[in-house]
Symmetry: C2
Subunit: 399 residues, 2 copies
């Protein structure tokens, strides 16, 4: 599934115009006027911007309604309303994880993403339906996108007996990452929840990526307990905290000590840059040396209607949420949706340089900032040296 390709006249990060030669799926040369190896496919770049493949570091491939009839949302306001509504209606709404994850993955690829980390529901009503479905997509769509799975106890871990055993089964099946969820406010047993998920990490030698929506002081308390276990178990660099709304609390006395420890233990933060919630301060975290990635979260699901899997739109949201206006600040927003995401997902050979894997996206624009604010749909996407999407048309057909 690797290919060779000569991209003529592209501008990496909106810089000088050069050619990029990809051979056997790897970038072997970046220079002006590269002589074309015999028989190689040549793609004219027309002076467009070249960026490394976008990184979708937090989504839920198993439960998008993409391609389904419109779902009229009449759900109640609490987090548990949304969780229960979804679990109870998944089969009735025909949210088949294999089909829906394939649809969303193709959409992601069209928008320029070459890597996806997907949380996948594990619960006692659906067992391995989600995990097996997304694994089918992971295996079946490797030509356009790399997917990794987080086993995710969406409905709670301890409050619904049997879920922990299913999490164990998901890891045995090959989920790459252990998930978790609001140890205080959902599971209502922070010690029990965190001991359980960290134990799974230890048993399978896998990283943790835990959803933490808890706000303010209670979120800070849970985060502190995650930090404590990360340190005690020697899991430095192996933990991601997703959402981390508590870091948006405007109280340095609360969050600065947390940030210091996150940096010390190389704990990564994922933020969708939500407009309606307190959100982690991206510039401050990056300045502290913390890896910060982003993702679409749920895309058009029973939770809400938003989302199109465009990580350049997400970069715009990161910019808008964090009041990033200068061109050098917009570049940070792009980094969060590319290189920072790659660091969180520990992607070998990621980047736009000689020796890197040939995963990239071409799109029009004068500068990186313009590419973000314009978000042209006219994109060309290259995966391991193969052109897999052009102007909204994928080489794969959605089921």
């Amino acid at each position: 599934m690797t290919a060779s390709l000569l991209l003529r006249n592209v501008r990496p990060y909106a810089g000088a115009t050069i050619d990029i030669l990809i051979e056997g799926g790897r970038i072997t040369r970046m220079a002006p006027d590269i002589q074309a190896p015999a028989g190689i496919t040549v793609e004219e770049g027309r002076g467009e911007i070249a960026l490394p493949g976008l990184v979708e570091a937090h989504t839920h491939l198993d439960k998008s309604l993409w391609g389904q009839p419109w779902y009229v949302n009449e759900v109640g306001p609490r987090l548990l309303d949304k969780i229960d509504n979804e679990r109870e209606n998944k089969k009735r709404l025909d949210i088949d994880p294999a089909r829906q994850s394939a649809r969303q993955s193709i959409q992601s690829s069209l928008m320029g993403s070459t890597h996806i980390r997907s949380h996948v529901d594990v619960d006692t009503e659906h067992g391995m339906w989600g995990i097996e479905g997304v694994m089918r997509t992971r295996d079946g769509y490797r030509d356009i996108v790399d997917i990794e799975l987080v086993a995710f106890p969406q409905s709670g871990l301890l409050r619904r007996p049997g879920t922990l055993e299913l999490m164990d089964e998901a890891m045995k099946l090959g989920a790459e990452i252990v998930g978790g969820l609001d140890p205080c406010t959902i599971d209502r047993d922070p010690k029990g929840h965190l001991d359980a998920v960290f134990e799974l990490c230890q048993r399978y030698g896998k990283p943790l990526d835990i959803h933490l929506h808890e706000p303010g002081e209670v979120g800070a308390f849970s985060m502190d307990m995650i930090i404590e276990r990360t340190r005690a178990l020697g899991m430095k660099g192996k933990v991601t905290i997703s959402h981390a709304f508590c870091l948006g609390t405007p109280d340095p006395a609360l969050i600065d000590p947390l940030i210091e420890q996150l940096a010390e233990l190389d704990i990564a933060i994922m933020t969708t840059a939500p407009a309606s919630r307190p959100a982690p301060p991206v510039k401050k975290l990056l300045a502290a040396g913390i890896r910060v990635c982003s993702g679409s979260d749920g895309i058009r699901d029973t939770w809400g209607p938003y989302g199109n899997a465009d990580m350049l739109e997400r970069a715009m949201f990161v910019g808008l949420r964090n009041n990033l206006r200068r061109d050098d600040e917009l570049r940070l927003a792009l980094d969060v949706c590319t290189t920072e995401g790659a660091k969180v997902m520990d992607l070998a050979g990621y980047g736009l340089g000689e020796g890197c894997v040939g995963d990239l996206v071409l799109l029009p624009g004068e500068t990186v900032a313009e590419a973000i604010v314009t978000r042209s749909p006219k994109r060309r996407v290259v995966k391991r040296g193969k052109l897999v999407a052009r102007d909204g048309v994928s080489i794969r057909t959605a089921p």
Copy 2:
């Protein structure tokens, strides 16, 4: 500049499929299978959603950089940095208000807006350059969009002597609305500033639309002084407060008494639904009976790179900022960008009904919520019965 048109097979607000007959610029009939009057232009609607023309109720037509080479933003972080940077560089950057307002107006029309309220800078360095330029566009592009001008003392009113006289000149020239700006934090003389702008309103019999970025208690103080004058001068229903960040303060004791008086005096609120600032709570204000409109604010200018003049994207921002997820909530977000804006701008004959002016937009989608989250670029825009834009191509050419 009125025309007749028969729209076949459209779905007003995503409801049942009907025809819409527009004669002499007005909607005369909405029903299935209307017989075409002899010689009328017929447009096949293909079952698309019909919405009333979108209302851009707050922007700055005179200073967009739309269509100019990319402006690399390296401006400092304070509000005054941005104000001074802009004023000092406007001529150097060739930001000609006539040309730039024409460009943005065409872009607005392409996205479906049929009405624009534009604040226009009035300052001692540029005099009437902005006002005259935007008036030229107002007069020259009436076929595609209706524009009204707010004379806006962007650099301060009292802190820069001579500005008040220029504001008076702008009103004499025919600006439709008096503007103002942060009476405490920019002009540093709330009594002086507010007395001056209200006096202009009285002298010319015009409404007020004042920018109020001031946060928390200081913003509440300024708002209280605006309320006081609105009441004393009998200007009920004639005042709009734009931005009103102070209403986003999470303290009911501070904001509830303000909301009560805003409702009593029919003072309208404009919010861009900013992700990085406290913002007025849209649902709560609407529930209190307050008119709430929205706008793009600055579009790709020296203040920041964002914006594309799409009021459906703005409806999405209103939804994201206010955590609107249900279909009935998304409809509120659309209302803010259509009917509510029309109420604020006091537009006669606005709406999608028999007798209304034939201003509307057609676009694909199953539901109103889907139209907002998808924001299809495939739009057809009708102004006074004439098709003025189709799939991103306007009947007018940008200068």
